[in-house]
Amino acid sequence: MNRRSRLHLPRTPARPGQRPDFSYVALSPAGAVPRPEVNARARDIEPLSVELVRVLDDAALAVGPWNPHLDPEELQVGLRHMMLTRLYDDRMQRMQRSGKISFYIRSLGEEAVSVAQCMALRPGDMLFPGYRNQGLQIARGIALVDLMCQVLSNTRDMCKGRQLPVMYHSRPGNLFSISGNLATQFPQAVGWAMAAAIKGEDHLAASWIGEGSSAEADFHHALLFASVYQAPVILNIVNNQWAISTFQGYAGGEQRSFAARGPGYGVPGIRVDGNDFLAVYSVTQWAAQRARTGGGPTLIELVTYRAAAHSTSDDPSRYRAKDDYEHWPLGDPIDRLKRHLIALGEWSEERHQALVAELEALVISSWQEAVTYGTLTDGPKLDADLMFEDVFKAMPKHLERQRALMRAEREMPWPP
């Protein structure tokens, strides 16, 4: 027997040319995981952090105690938001490829996370999204034109040209400015929630990070402060299995579920099927009720799959099996909700195709409007003076001087 210490290296299940292997994903049958009362003690519900909350079964029917019993109309709204998110992503991806925008990040395969969670919260709840949560923007009702103008850095860009594409924000929508740096906003959400508690308000905060970025120290700051102050916050780890090329084992997922980090801090952890719209909605609703009734924070791990590349700068065929997603055991979130609605008799293939056509038309007309405000290459341009504004509330003298220098520089004939 080898008695020496050794360096363990997480094993990536399938690299290019290998057979996809998801045997490592621990599954629970739909309906099998009990639903505790929202005021249950964290220590009494630890199994929730390693089991997998699922509602939709193989026949696309909703089963078990976590069934949120949503009206068909609400399910149809959820389906619509998810489909719109995907069609928007498809269009932006193509526009990046044609040089109209500089960069894009799709959320393909993860739409249920943002859409179902947003729908389970209230408009007054503050959201601290990551860069793959465009479904939050769409479910909160931000107009596609506004999202597109940000992505285009054009004259109607909410960020005034200062941010990379997809780093949206909306003050009226209670969607905090996306940073682009990883995990930084997780503990900020806790602080926002602490402020809500200090002020005696009924709002909660929610934030999202990937399993990869849960490695950052900010993740632990969030859990610790949330636990100490029992802040009304929902902390979500979107476990889409990949941090660019690095498999979730390198973020610590090999030894224990990500949700299981919650109980270590005395915070309930719930592991949920992230591609099951009903299950995602239900656990979020549970966590929200708990937070609003003084029960404090919840850590939710949403098990899903990053079906697309990390970003338009990435090529996953270099590091993972090409047909991985086809073997993903939790399926596709849109397809699953669609089949559920059809099983309920509340949807049909014809209605689905009609909705696709309607949403595609909306995406196209929104794009046509957005580009009238300019693109990276054509049309009206933002005034470069804007870069000197909002560095501070009032512009200091040295920036005024630099703005003048920039103007002089731009007027200089070149070559001299």
């Binding site: 470069a384 870069m387 920036l399």
Partner: protein, 338 residues
Amino acid sequence: MAAMNMVQALNSAMDIMLGRDPAVVLMGEDIGYFGGVFRATEGLQRKYGEHRVLDTPIAEGGIVATAIGMGVNGLRPVAEIQFADYIYPGFDQIVSELARIRFRSAGEFHAPITIRTPCGGGIRGGQTHSQSPEGIFTHVSGVKVVMPSNPFDAKGLLITSIEDDDPVVFFEPKRLYNGPFDGDPHKPAVPWSTHPKGQVEEGYYTVPLGAAEIVRPGSQLTIITYGTMVHVALAAAEAMKVDAEIIDVRSLVPLDVDTLCTSVKKTGRCIVAHEATRFSGFGAELLAVVQEECFWELEAPIQRVAGWDTPYPHAFEWEYFPGQRRVALAIRAVLESA
């Protein structure tokens, strides 16, 4: 000699050092199987094994801290921080720990670590993929700071940095990875194969730290710069038809004061230029040193060329970037004071 771009030259340096010294290990996000988001470590895990080229969690503080522990225990880690913009979670470990271990333990402990990190703009990376934070690290006593401007220097400086028993933060101007860039985004990209410094020795060689290089001798004025701005300054001087002496600092800490000041004493006119923001930037140190050493030989106030003091804006990249016009205005200013 072989034609290499900067990425290939860096890869060659790490390849050679992994081969020469069993204590050398590489670590960083996506650097192993994938070979790094900029391909700098491509093929090295395959060649040297998973125990020598480690994929790490996304935790820059953890990367720097564990590299320190490995360094204290006899290894010679080369850590990659994927973008310099992401180095800040590791900042405390660099400033409070890495930089001071030798000092506080009276030389009994040290951590010979190289931290490689791509920096700089010009790639439409917005505020989170474009920063040049080198000046922040030069302000920390106990770390060396290096920034090459071409493949030949990149390889030689990286080998020297890895062999150095002191910690080195090694900044790689990512806009220069594939070719020299003179600041004009509208010109077609030029590959390194057309540049003399794109010819790189295939074997082991070093470029010393603390030695600046005169990349263009001249008599009218001195431009002290480093990184991408070396190429911008060369192009601007040519466009302005001035006989500028252009110096590539290469090693910010330690700094080759003699080469800089010998030049300024000769020309009597000086511009310092970098891509980083101006206020408290490394240019302020360069300017102060030149002023202290060359005051009586100066014919004009020293000019500074730098990025504006704002976060790096996505849409206004070329209005922000200190391009040839900004250098030209500084050239005009130092010459007009005659």
